[in-house]
Amino acid sequence: MNRHLPSSSYFRPLLCIDEMYVSFDTSLGRVKAAQNICLELHERETLAIVGETGCGKSVIASAILQLLPSNASVKGKAIFLGRDLLSLGEREMADIRGQEIAIIFQNPSLSLNPIMKVAEQVAEPLQIHRRLPRHRAISKAEDMLSRFKLGDKASPVMYPFQLSGGMNQRVMIATSMILSPKILIADEPSKGLDQSLARQVMKELAGIKDEIGASLLLITHDLLLAKEVSDRIAVMYCGEIVEAGSSAEIFDEPLHPYTKALLNCLPEMGFKPIPGSSPSMIDPPEGCRFYPRCRERLDRCLLSPKMIKVESDDGDREVRCWLY
């Protein structure tokens, strides 16, 4: 347990992922999508998992809720309020999904049933989990939608294809927040939305999250978005968490060479791409996963580095690198 992410908040941990491994059996071989993931999500905080496409970020979210396809195998633990989510049965899991932990998927327009009015979709969790009668559920749903600026007469009776991507994203958020879950997982909420709209949606999401006192696990490849909204950041590379700490520190003083390289990719920092390409998840590099592309590599980087605590002002932070 000593390798968990350091905490910068004073709240107790709500979700505690301990040494989680996720792999998929495919015809090409075993895809090791997530390796040795240790994360703690505290009450009321926002934790962002950042990393490039295909590094296994979304897999973590789906694994927590047992939403992975049948060829996936998950090892490890994810303790939520004293229960291990990874070993719960389908029925118990159904009670947790939506009520305790809600997830917002990428691509909002595809995540809504195209032939159901949006208010009905927002009302559905209330009808099913809270057993509210239809008309009361719908009026509550309309209240919820109005908080996301969809409160006029027309939009609740519209179908998802009549709304824009941003509006659909808000409908999705309203649907997942309506039962006041303790944890909200947002899987690439900014995908398919333009910059300004993504910011706006995130702001609304953060606002309502604070209001109901939920924690937010934000999964994104948008570094600036992560910087703006999150308290802590975990950087992932090729299925491993390589660095974690408070978001201000990670941006001010990145430790891991990958984090440094990632920050250099930002337009503000000079738009310098990382040389080489992402390694295969089926046959990952020996030792440090970033070794083939690293500028500061040493001979001992061919041995797998451990997550090490590093002293810092803002509580402690961790990095998986031999340099520290």
């Binding site: 159904a94 809504l112 099913i128 009549q162 941003g166 939305l193 709209l197």
Partner: protein
């Protein structure tokens, strides 16, 4: 349905620059237009309206037979009367009024058609839905059963069974219903396989909804556009099959269906003696009714395709 893009069309623009409530109403007008008249040419739509009119007039005739028919179909008048004033479509060898027979016959033909199609569609879509949604073992077993049913030669089986059992139109409807669901099951399965991987099924699962609820409220409604034309077309083929079986003399002799009328006309010399009104009328009825169903069915299919093409 498959191609809904985030922020498609003009809505994306108005949305991202002014997200206030007023714009939603203004946007509605812009967005509505492409979805209101998306399908086919005007001619195609007119033809399908003709189909609808024909279909509903046959339906009304079947429901209100007793009010519409000029006389009892079993009453006897002068035999072999050509169409004339007293009997608009003439009479048959027993002197029964052909128009009345036709109107009453529509009842039997439609019941057989609808009954068989309803049964076939229900069985087919539930098997296809379960196989496609649950995949894996359920899929293997259910599709195995479908394969077995596909191998049964259907018309010969119906002929054999109708010959051995007491011929009745209920039996024929039941047999057709329990044999003709295979193609529906196949089509529905493939669509259900597609729908189960859609984002909204995933997100409903992540909200903790049961499989039953997802099937009923998300998968099934999205299948309806596929099942409806299938249902209509199987009414048509069930009616044709019923007529052919009746024509072969394996139908229910106590019931006057259109097929039975042609059979009587054939076996009692209507063809040889040139009493064209006797066999022409039921033949035309079958043809027109099937045509009307095919028109509506193909209109529905075409419409769905063009909606998908647009998005």
């Amino acid at each position: 349905m498959a191609g809904i893009k985030p922020g498609s069309g003009p809505c994306a623009m108005s949305e991202c620059f002014c997200g206030d409530g007023k714009d939603v109403r203004g946007m509605e007008k812009e967005c509505d237009r492409p979805y209101h008249c998306p399908y086919g040419g005007i001619l195609f739509r007119k033809v399908s309206i003709i189909g609808l009119v024909l279909f509903s007039s046959f339906l009304l005739a079947a429901i209100f037979s007793s009010f519409l028919s000029p006389c009892d179909p079993w009453d006897r008048f002068e035999p072999y009367l050509p169409p004339g004033q007293d009997h608009i479509l003439g009479t048959n060898d027993l002197g029964q009024d052909i128009l009345s027979e036709l109107i009453y016959g529509s009842r039997v033909s439609l019941i057989v058609g609808f009954g068989a199609a309803l049964m076939a569609t229900t069985i087919g879509s539930s098997i296809g839905l379960l196989a496609g949604y649950f995949k894996g073992m359920a899929d293997e077993i259910l599709m195995g059963i479908t394969d077995i049913f596909l191998m049964i030669p259907q018309i010969p089986l119906i002929i054999v069974l109708a010959a051995f059992l007491r011929p009745s139109f209920w039996l024929i409807a039941l047999l057709m219903g329990s044999l003709w669901w295979t193609s529906t099951a196949r089509v529905v399965r493939s669509k259900a396989l597609q729908i189960r991987e859609m984002g909204y099924v995933q997100s409903k699962r992540s909200l903790g909804f049961s499989h039953l609820h997802i099937i009923v409220s998300d998968v099934l409604p999205n299948l309806s556009q596929l099942v409806m034309p299938k249902f209509l077309l199987s009414i048509a083929s069930a009616m044709i099959a019923e007529s052919s079986i009746s024509f072969l003399g394996l139908g229910d002799p106590s019931m006057k269906s259109w097929g039975m009328m042609i059979n009587f006309a054939f076996s009692r010399g209507g063809f040889i003696n040139g009493y064209w009104w006797w066999y022409m009328a039921p033949g035309l009825c079958i043809t027109i009714f099937v045509l009307s169903i095919v028109l509506i069915g193909s209109f529905l299919e075409e419409r769905d395709e063009s909606i998908m093409g647009q998005q």
